[in-house]
Symmetry: C2
Subunit: 311 residues, 2 copies
């Protein structure tokens, strides 16, 4: 059944029936607005939008995958502030001939990814549109901690990363060349694996700045460097290229470090910490903060693309 | 300069420079997420999306008008819960050839409308898209009050309204027939005049249910009737048709009550209150809650369109 035939209220009913409530959901979908717990007395909020043909393709990703990706991009932004996500709101614009099942499966993906962190979809809006578009807003709770911003890195800090880089970009390249394997790369593109709880963990460890890698490591670390008025030098040998990525890069004629250093959408968390800190093993030291400006790799500018262009 | 030439980060810088902070803004645009005061320990959140060609036309409304309309639709949803809006987040999807000034003036409109209630734009996202799309999320604060939901109307309650109905729909009809006057109607379509503070006021007055009129009075009161398991009867003589609307209706061959009873987007607040309550003058009694189901006008079903179709 097309969304036009289901109608807005019919489609909303079908979609919301599939969405579980979260522990922070005080009033879920169905009213003028939702009500979400914000025990801390502050709420962290971020919005990200995905446009078909630009951020996803329906022949590359299932609706459920798109739900996971859209949720992950937003939940990672909350984690990168040192907060725990509590809720998602979703604005969905759909072509009239879209199968209503696509919207239902998108909701499944959004709800599943939110449930990973105990959050839930609490509200949204739907409209017809020639362009399939998904705008997600995530809310989060700081539990009394100060937010970890982009502007706090200081010369002498270490740069550490939790999560993967290059996988989603490699999966994107694989798909764009018409292949469907290696599965580990394609799956990484379809459903990012984000360690959301590493965000609050970094805040507890007194991270001086933090960001999630959505546009590419060099580009995103560049935001921290610019925001903090410092230089960041990354160590290339801190980034091991796994065998399947190396093999795919060789087969496709790509420098795998382009994926690792400039590929976005894995949503690894990158944070700076005071020198000498002892970090849990999932946080890997990948560089250092210096006086100056800009981002270098082993002391030199990186040659090649550095991040995602939005227009 | 086109948005493509300005670039995402250039455009974000241009836009955010124009946005004032609000009293609840603890961390505004520029980081992974914003931080907003939520003193109450709960946050009210709602999302609404506007799609060009469906919810607005660039030849009918300035960018600033569209900003006012997009903000008003969301702020009214927060008010309809009995809450005071604190913040907006905006996802903006723009064609590459759009003039960057359009985005800047949109931001002006969003910021101005938010400022009416002391709220501010605290964050957002931008993307290229073939379809100009604006998804806005509004946050709000209940100040210790219970949210006023759609499900609390009880037989015997009075139905009261604060604000205008029919104006925006009349303005839309005027514009769609190629006219630009009467100004009062066209302006109402371009920039809704919403009494946001009537929302918290109704909550203080122990409103049993509340909604804002975004789809049309009959349709929206229908949501309350359905949600509460009651019938609502509206009194036609409670809705005075102002002279300019009557004249425009006559000239265009329209029954003005179609605008008044089925026209949306003025975002009047409609609430139900216990019988015998003494209401401030801006709340006009327009009907009564009965046992049963559905919405009637003077005891009879309304003949004609009853609300906006979304697909």
């Amino acid at each position: 059944m097309s969304v036009a035939k289901a109608g807005e209220f019919g489609l909303i009913a079908r979609v919301t029936a599939r969405l579980p409530a979260g522990s922070g959901t005080l009033l879920g979908p169905g009213d003028d607005a939702a009500v979400v717990r914000a025990a801390d007395g502050r709420v962290v909020a971020s919005t990200d939008v995905l446009v078909e043909g630009r951020h996803f393709r329906r022949d590359w990703c299932s609706a459920q995958d798109v739900g996971h990706r859209a949720a992950a991009a937003n939940l990672a932004d909350i984690a990168a502030m040192g907060a725990t996500p509590t809720a998602l709101l979703v604005a969905l614009c759909v072509p009239a001939d879209l199968d209503a099942r696509w919207a239902e499966e998108l909701a499944d993906g959004l709800g599943e990814e939110a449930a990973v962190v105990g959050a839930a979809v609490v509200g949204g809006d739907m409209s017809g549109s020639p362009t399939l578009t998904i705008a997600v807003t995530a809310l989060g709770d700081l539990a009394g901690r100060a937010p970890v911003v982009r502007t706090g890195a200081r010369p002498g800090d270490v740069v550490a990363m939790c999560g993967r880089v290059g996988y989603a970009a490699a999966g994107y390249t694989v798909l764009s060349r018409g292949f469907r394997t290696p599965k580990v790369l394609v799956d990484a593109y379809r459903r990012p694996q984000v360690q959301y709880d590493a965000g609050p963990e970094a805040a507890e460890l007194c991270a001086t700045s933090m960001i999630d890698v959505s546009d590419g490591l060099l580009a995103d670390v560049g935001h921290v460097a610019k925001g903090s008025g410092v230089a960041v030098d990354l160590r290339r040998d801190a980034f091991e290229v796994p065998r399947q990525m190396r093999d795919a890069a060789y087969a496709l004629g790509v420098d795998p470090y382009t994926w690792v250093l400039a590929g976005g959408e894995d949503h690894a968390l990158v944070a700076t910490f005071p020198e000498g800190i002892s970090l849990p093993p999932r946080w890997r030291v990948v560089g250092a903060v210096r006086e100056g400006s800009g981002v270098t790799v082993d002391g030199r500018p990186f040659k090649g693309p550095t991040g995602w262009q939005h227009f």
